[in-house]
């Protein structure tokens, strides 16, 4: 299958020509397959947010190109605009962009800007609200009257309502408690399952990435340094550590056990897998309960 989104030697330098020049991306070749669930991790300042904003044309590359469905997204103004509707981008802390009088109207902002009619907008708003678990009652509230986690879900619904073919989320769980995080990850998975759109999830949390996505891209210093399945990435613990990224805690424990001479596979990154492997090794009952 040909990729839905692709970048070629993408380079971006902020504040070009001032004393504050800062190279954020250096020759990034990156692609997203249709319908895949892709995770991106990287240390603070590695260029993740900058890359994401290139994917829907919010930032123009200093050098290189971005292709959506094979066309350069900066080919013309119309192309850029239509790509914005098809590549939905949820920023970090999206709850700070809410502005309408009611949650309903805020979610409707995107679909309305796409020029859809009232009935279609209504369908999409309700569908998106259902995906993130907002009740009809909450739709009529002011967005500022919601709790932090609810605000965040309302903001995410605002992008989901545009029914993008690629949904990009920049650290959607930053600053939430474990339950809020699980809820949002659940919403994202539901969106992926029900619409079949590609989802790109940017995160700092290895556990979250390991548990959620099928392919992982690791960024460091404005470049892509690793690309592969969660298993193959987390098996390279030492390299990740050198980039300031921590391997999931369970994986670390398994590694320690391995150095102690206990023979376990080195590609374990969830508690369930670890339990299974240890039980298998112990030759006991594999039905972990």
């Amino acid at each position: 299958m040909s990729p839905i989104l692709q970048t070629k030697t993408l380079t971006h330098t902020y504040s070009l020509g001032t004393p504050f020049e800062q190279a954020a991306l250096r020759g990034v070749d990156f692609h997203v397959e249709p319908g895949e669930l892709l995770g991106i991790i990287g240390h603070t300042g590695s260029g993740k947010s900058t890359l994401m904003q290139h994917l829907n044309g919010l930032i123009k590359p200093t050098e290189g190109q971005v292709y959506f469905d094979g066309t350069d997204i900066h080919e013309s103004k119309e192309t850029t605009r239509s790509v914005r509707a098809q590549v939905g981008l949820v920023f970090q802390y999206p709850e700070y962009q809410l502005f309408e009088e009611t949650v309903y109207r805020d979610i409707a902002f995107g679909p309305k800007n796409m020029g859809l009619g009232g009935a279609e907008v209504d369908i999409r708003v309700r569908e998106a609200a259902a995906l993130v678990g907002l009740t009809t009652e909450q739709l009529d509230k002011s967005p500022f009257a919601l709790s932090g986690g609810q605000k965040r879900r309302a903001a995410i619904a605002g992008v989901m309502a545009m029914r993008p073919r690629v949904l990009i989320l920049d650290e959607p769980t930053a600053g939430l408690d474990p339950r809020g995080r699980d809820e949002i990850i659940g919403n994202i998975k539901a969106f992926h399952r029900e619409t079949g759109a590609a989802v790109v999830l940017v995160s700092h949390s290895m556990e979250e990435i390991a548990r959620t996505v099928s392919r992982v891209v690791v960024m460091s210093g404005g470049q892509i340094v690793m690309n592969g399945t969660g298993r193959s990435i987390f098996a390279q613990g030492a390299e990740l550590h050198a980039m300031g990224l921590a391997v999931p805690e369970v994986t670390q424990i398994v590694m320690r056990l391995r150095t102690l001479g206990i023979d376990l596979p080195c590609d374990i990154f969830t508690v369930e897998q670890a339990a299974q492997a240890i039980l298998t090794r112990a030759g006991g009952d594999t039905d972990a309960s």
């Binding site: 004393p19 904003q53 919010l58 914005r84 939905g88 605002g158």
Partner: protein, 267 residues
């Protein structure tokens, strides 16, 4: 686009201009402005330009930054320039419809452009080479005597300091909110004035919310450090005048005398 506004931005450096005492710099700017508005002839304006050029070179300020700072003023400059050319009575050059361009008008316009341009550049160099902290410290000390007549100088300086400090922060914030709304299909660039005004709502409401939130947080942070205004406050960094400040003062005095002297002589 919003980042083009460079007002109140400081570019760290280590030149003589950067190291001058902020009080000296503030006084020098005032002297410079007085001289600039006393200069009305090609000779005196030329001298001012040479002076400005020297300062730009010595402070290693990038010319493109100064030009960029002038850009928002371009419309006003063109507008007042044109008005001057056509509305000053005198010897005609050419006529457009009922308007007559005059030599006197042209002269006026050029002098005006030179003055405003140099004024803006001069003050920009001040903010480019002086950290906001230093600038307000200097201002506070210069205005110190007003405390006698109950002007809350320290509080005013603090307010100014914070305002300057938050200009870049809020601009960055505005940029981010704008991007986020654009990602939802908002259009800030087309349509007539009314539509554009409406299009600003999704930007302005979150921006105000964020400004209030930041103000709240800052107030709490200051209170929890027991800040209670200027009374009895001492400084961590004391400002001291040195030899360079004396020399700068001398240069300023010479410049002002020369310009006013030449003006009196009618040159």
């Amino acid at each position: 686009m919003l980042r083009d506004i460079t007002l109140g931005q400081y570019f760290p450096g280590d030149t003589v201009i950067h190291r001058l005492d902020p009080r000296t710099k503030l006084i020098m700017v005032m002297v410079y402005l007085v001289a600039l508005f006393s200069a009305g002839t090609a000779l005196t304006l030329g001298m001012m330009a040479v002076f400005l050029g020297t300062i730009i070179c010595v402070s290693k300020t990038k010319l493109c930054l100064l030009v960029r700072g002038l850009r928002p003023l371009a419309i006003i400059l063109v507008f007042t320039g044109t008005l001057n050319i056509f509305l000053t009575p005198g010897e005609p050059i050419f006529r457009v419809w009922i308007l007559t361009a005059t030599y006197e008008g042209l002269r006026h316009a050029l002098v005006l452009l030179a003055r405003i341009g140099m004024m803006v550049m001069g003050t920009f160099i001040l903010t480019y080479t002086t950290s906001p902290m230093n600038l307000t410290d200097g201002l506070e000390m210069l205005l110190g005597p007003l405390k006698r007549i109950r002007v809350p100088v320290h509080e005013l300086a603090m307010i100014m300091n914070m305002a300057l400090r938050f200009v870049p922060t809020l601009l960055a914030e505005a940029d981010k909110i704008m991007s986020a709304q654009k990602a939802r299909g908002a259009d800030f660039e087309s349509g007539n004035i009314l539509r554009r005004g409406q299009a600003m709502i999704p930007l302005l409401i979150p921006l105000f919310m964020s400004a209030f939130r930041r103000a709240d947080e800052l107030a709490i942070a200051m209170e929890s450090r027991c800040y209670h205004g200027g009374e009895g406050r001492t400084r961590m960094r004391q400002l001291r005048l040195g030899l360079r400040d004396a020399l700068a003062g001398l240069v300023g005095a010479l410049l002002l005398t020369a310009i006013i002297g030449l003006g009196v002589l009618g040159l």
